[in-house]
Amino acid sequence: MDIMDEIRDLSRKYPDRRGALLPALYVVQKEAGWLSQEALDTVSRALNLPQATVKGVATFYAMYKHRPMGRHLIQLCTNVACMIMGAERLVDLISGRYGLEPGGTTDDGRFSLVIMECIGACDRAPAMLVDTDFHADLTADNIFEILEKYE
């Protein structure tokens, strides 16, 4: 199905086409991993919404990205439970190994690192999402074993 149709299809779930805006942004973001101007325009055309409306909404939510991301997105939680269980040390280790600061992307485009607020895995802290894969009970020993699997 073409992307315009996919978006219009989504809007059938809502009494008003604007309801499909968040899901539509996810659809276009899946293509390149971030929302280019072109991607935003596609949504704007498919839902017949002003460009400013689309951009205004897209910039409110943390999970929509506005510049190119690495091939793999590491979203590491450092909220209280993860912090107590050592998440900040993991941030330092990741920074050291890949030269990757929170909010940044490695030079080779392999990883982007984002610090997340609570990801609801406090019983197995620290925890992270790599793309859509969930990893928990992270330690200094297993963190690179996990990350090295992502090329």
Binding site: N79, E117, F134
Partner: protein, 421 residues
């Protein structure tokens, strides 16, 4: 206690409709269709169910307001945003018992005469998304959703609406904004969503766990249901227990169970046999407590008497190695990041408080910083559209009320009491 909400979740197929039906699933739905919608609302009222999303609002009363509103259509929204730090209690229902939630939603929709429902799921739960989509498809296939639910002639459509990383969208009016395709910014109440909600129509927003209680109330009847836990706010309750305990996890226990039992019997006590220093009883937005409240019943009635709240039932346990200034600073960084920016006291105040806590934690605290924090917190309290600001203020005031020595120590000695201890 017998498990109701998490019944069967240890079975590897617990999320599938086959397993759910085999263990008596969707029987409550059939029973509900033999009742009048108004009788179901009366039953939920009589059961004394209070919302599990944080505020503890009586569910039957909320439904009554929505059903009395003459406007149609009406919307039913399940709040699965689960963003309160420390909380992971809805997750096992979403990932392992999704049909219980769907059954609860269909019964609720029938009682409310709603034909359209949404599950507002946080973006950070991609696995739950996959499970829910599959469960919804199974429910359509089996005729529990769609144009003629279980042959009753009642119509109900349901889909997942995925959030995109904004804690504020857990607040019900911001959540409605987000479903409508807007930035999530709380609206002033009244009007309440039960009258003017999604697309201006009467809308009921209930938490995942609240809705998961509905099939139970229908099958047991209000009488037997209200014998579970504290009669003043009965029912089973999911507690997420985390941080410094031997066995962190989600525990389904009777409402009103003493905090001590949760920590020491179910979660295995403080890790390594260390000393208990502090407990946050209901997620990061609820004020911290000292160990002398261990015998407090964990419910909506008793925790407020001890200066805190049940919130989402997320018990965060801190032992004597944890620096509470650091915990408070991290909590404030969260509130600053998640403030939607609509109300000035919250938008500015959370940043100021984070800044002061940061310098304190870094050894640059100044005389008067404690008073300054209290002053800012009091200037936020009660002066914002939604309770996010109140939560942030209450957290700081709670830490300063119960642990001012530790904050003073940080300012005077430029280091941690925990690390020097």
């Amino acid at each position: 206690m017998e498990r109701f909400l998490l019944k069967n979740i240890d079975s590897p197929d617990s999320a599938g409709i086959g397993e759910y039906l085999r263990t008596g699933g969707y029987a409550s739905l059939k029973k509900a269709f033999g009742m009048e919608p108004a009788d179901i609302i009366a039953e939920v009222k009589a059961a004394g169910l209070r919302g599990r999303g944080g505020a503890g609002f009586p569910t039957g009363m909320k439904w009554d307001f929505a059903s009395r509103d003459p406007k149609f259509p009406k919307y039913l929204i399940c709040n699965a945003d689960e963003g309160e730090p420390g909380t992971f209690k809805d997750r096992p229902i979403l990932e392992k018992n999704p049909h219980l939630l769907i059954e609860g939603m269909v019964i609720s929709a029938y009682a409310l005469k709603s034909e359209r429902g949404y599950i507002y799921l946080r973006g950070e739960y991609p696995h739950a998304r996959a499970v829910l989509d599959k469960a919804i498809a199974e429910a359509y296939e089996a005729g529990f959703l769609g144009g003629d639910v279980a042959g009753s002639g009642f119509r109900f459509d349901l889909s997942v609406h995925q959030g995109a990383g904004a804690y504020i969208c857990g607040e019900e009016t911001a959540l409605i904004d987000s479903i409508e395709g807007r930035r999530g910014q709380p609206r002033i109440k009244p009007p309440f969503p039960v009258n003017v909600g999604a697309w201006g129509k009467p809308t009921v927003v209930n938490n995942v766990e609240t809705l998961a209680n509905i099939p139970l109330i229908v099958s047991m009847g209000a009488g037997r249901y209200s014998e579970i836990g504290n009669p003043e706010c009965p029912g089973p309750k999911l507690f997420s227990v985390s941080c410094c305990v031997e066995r962190p996890g989600v525990y389904e226990l009777p409402m009103g169970i003493p905090l001590r039992e949760i920590i020491y019997e179910h979660a295995g006590g403080v890790r390594g046999g260390r000393e208990l220093k502090a407990v946050i009883p209901g997620g990061i937005s609820t004020p911290v407590l000292t160990p002398d409240v261990l015998d407090c019943p964990m419910d909506f009635v008793n925790l407020p008497k001890r200066g805190s709240m049940l919130g989402s039932g997320a018990v965060m346990v801190f032992d004597d190695t944890v620096c509470l200034v650091r915990v408070c600073w991290r909590a404030m960084r969260f509130f600053e990041h998640e403030s939607c920016g609509k109300c000035t006291p919250c938008r500015e105040g959370t940043g100021w408080m984070r800044n002061i806590l940061e310098r304190m934690e870094g050894g640059f605290g100044r005389d008067g910083d404690i008073e300054l924090l209290q002053d800012i917190a009091r200037s936020i309290m009660g002066k914002t559209f939604c309770p996010l600001g109140d939560g942030a203020a209450g957290v700081v005031l709670g830490f300063l009320r119960n642990f001012s020595d530790e904050f003073m120590y940080h300012i005077t000695n430029k280091k941690c009491l925990a690390e020097s201890g």
